[in-house]
């Protein structure tokens, strides 16, 4: 599911695009917020961390291009929605992912969604290959350094030191050895994509556990006890998958 935000000063245009999404693409796109100005949009983007922002260009006070000046790192893709064809070149210069003319044609929106999914797949395959190569090169007990966004900075940690990750709405708590904790400005789903190592296990909608830090588990009540004695519950449908990690019982 692609999470999106719509920024357009005209309520009719916001309503048109959101209704079009609701009507034809609600299985692929979820609207996490709408804003009537760039300023309002920044708040909604920071709160909901969307994958895509549908952005009008001509707006009073600040035009759509100004949105790029509001972020140190633009962690989302931008699709311009406008009735002005002449802005296409500027949009490309701003690394727009796509450019849709209003009223948005459902076919154009579908083409965009296909392109977006295609690219996501490519990124994920490239990421896995990189990871395998890193593991091959570094031997048995390598440090696997990952960087995770914490506010405006990126925190660098050894993935092996992460005990578990816990979802907190749009953010994720990372618990590391030594009873340390920090909060990452990404959803657990995104963190799971970054921590794409075989020793991480999604035991629950809200939990991702490092198998190396497990002390024991209880398959009847469905929980895992970590070495630091914290207990993480297993979702019912995960229990069997979890047990199978340790081979079939004799």
């Amino acid at each position: 599911m692609i999470k999106c935000v719509i920024i357009d000063d005209e309520s009719n245009c916001r309503n048109d695009l959101s209704a079009l999404i609701e009507y034809k693409f609600k299985d692929r796109l979820r609207i996490s917020g709408m804003a009537g100005s760039v300023k309002e949009g920044v708040g909604i983007i920071n709160a909901s961390l969307p994958d895509v922002v549908f952005l009008d260009i001509r707006m009073p006070e600040e035009d759509g291009f100004q949105l790029f000046n509001k972020f140190d790192h633009v962690n989302f893709d931008v699709v311009f929605t406008t009735s002005y064809e002449e802005y296409a070149i500027q949009a490309i210069k701003h690394a727009a992912f796509d450019y849709l003319l209003k009223p948005v044609d459902p076919k154009d929106l579908e083409t965009f969604l296909d392109r977006f999914d295609q690219r996501e797949k490519q990124i994920s395959v490239a990421h896995k290959i990189k990871l395998l190569l890193a593991q091959l090169e570094s031997g048995d007990e390598p440090n696997i350094l990952v960087s995770l966004p914490v506010g405006k900075e990126y925190k660098v940690v050894n993935a092996r030191d992460i005990i578990y990750c816990k979802a907190d709405v749009n953010y994720t708590e990372i618990h590391t050895s030594g009873n340390l904790k920090f909060v990452v400005t990404k959803t657990l789903g995104k963190v799971e994509e970054i921590l794409n190592y075989p020793f991480f296990f999604r035991c629950h909608k809200s939990y991702l556990a490092n198998l190396n830090h497990i002390d024991s588990y209880n398959k009847i009540d469905g929980y895992i006890r970590m070495k630091n004695q914290e207990v993480i519950y297993l979702a019912d449908r995960r229990i069997e998958e979890f047990i199978n990690l340790f081979g079939k019982e004799k």
Binding site: N12, N15, E22, Y84
Partner: protein, 234 residues
């Protein structure tokens, strides 16, 4: 002498041809915005609003196309056209501004003729550049009155003013030229040329309050006061 008269005739003919090409055009962004609004109403089950909007828009398109083949229309028709256009913009910018059309009693709209859509582009401009940057409380005044042998149309807004609008627009990376206003200025020049007159004119006045702060823009468009009963106007 003959040569220069021939040249003058040729220039008038050329001016007429250019005028023809520039005559009545609709702003493509206005069309796109209007259609987007109508579709959003259909999506959101606002059937009555969509019908009202579509009816107004159909009327505007029909009049625009009809006027394209005319050199002059009555002032009454032009007023209907302006009212029709404003009704659409008021729906789009619901509550953002209010409009007042004022009319001098000595003018009889059905007896006067004007070039089609000669005033509307300035109204469109007042909305898109002056009033658009206000969040609320916008006021638009359109006033018609005689001025000696001329007909004067005043388009006044209490928007941010030309200077501020320009500052806002300069800060942005996009160009904000007003195509329809440029076209109308060109039409005014050509009308003066064809009629060998200087009676057609446009003046833009920056308004300021008692403290000297900008408080809007007034555009005065003047054209000859012409009766329907006096020749073909050309």
């Amino acid at each position: 002498m003959i040569g220069s008269r021939g040249k003058a005739n040729y220039e008038v003919e050329l001016a007429k041809a250019r005028l023809e090409a520039l005559k009545v055009r609709m702003n493509p962004h206005f069309i796109a915005n209007t259609l987007t609004s109508i579709r959003s109403m259909l999506f959101n089950d606002r059937k009555d609003d969509a019908i009202e909007y579509l009816t107004l828009f159909a009327k505007l398109i029909r009049t625009t196309l009809e006027n394209a083949s005319k050199d002059y229309i009555t002032l009454a028709s032009e007023l209907h056209y302006i009212r029709n256009y404003l009704d659409i913009e008021e729906l789009r910018f619901a509550g953002k501004f209010t409009t007042r059309i004022v009319f001098s009693e000595s003018l009889i709209p059905i007896d006067l003729i004007v070039p089609p859509s000669i005033f509307q582009p300035f109204i469109e401009n007042a909305i898109n550049h002056g009033l658009m940057h206000r969040t609320q409380g916008g006021k638009l005044l359109v006033e018609f009155k005689p001025d000696g042998s001329l007909l004067k149309c005043i388009i006044e807004d209490n928007g941010v003013g030309r200077q501020k609008a320009k500052e806002i627009e300069n800060r942005s990376l996009i160009s904000h030229s007003s195509l329809s206003e440029d076209i109308t200025r060109e039409r005014i020049n050509l009308l003066n040329k064809i009629n060998a007159t200087k009676e057609y004119s446009i003046d833009t006045i920056d308004l300021s309050d008692n403290n000297g702060n900008p408080c809007g823009t007034r555009v005065e468009v003047k054209i000859p006061l012409q009766s329907i009963y006096k020749g073909d106007g050309n």
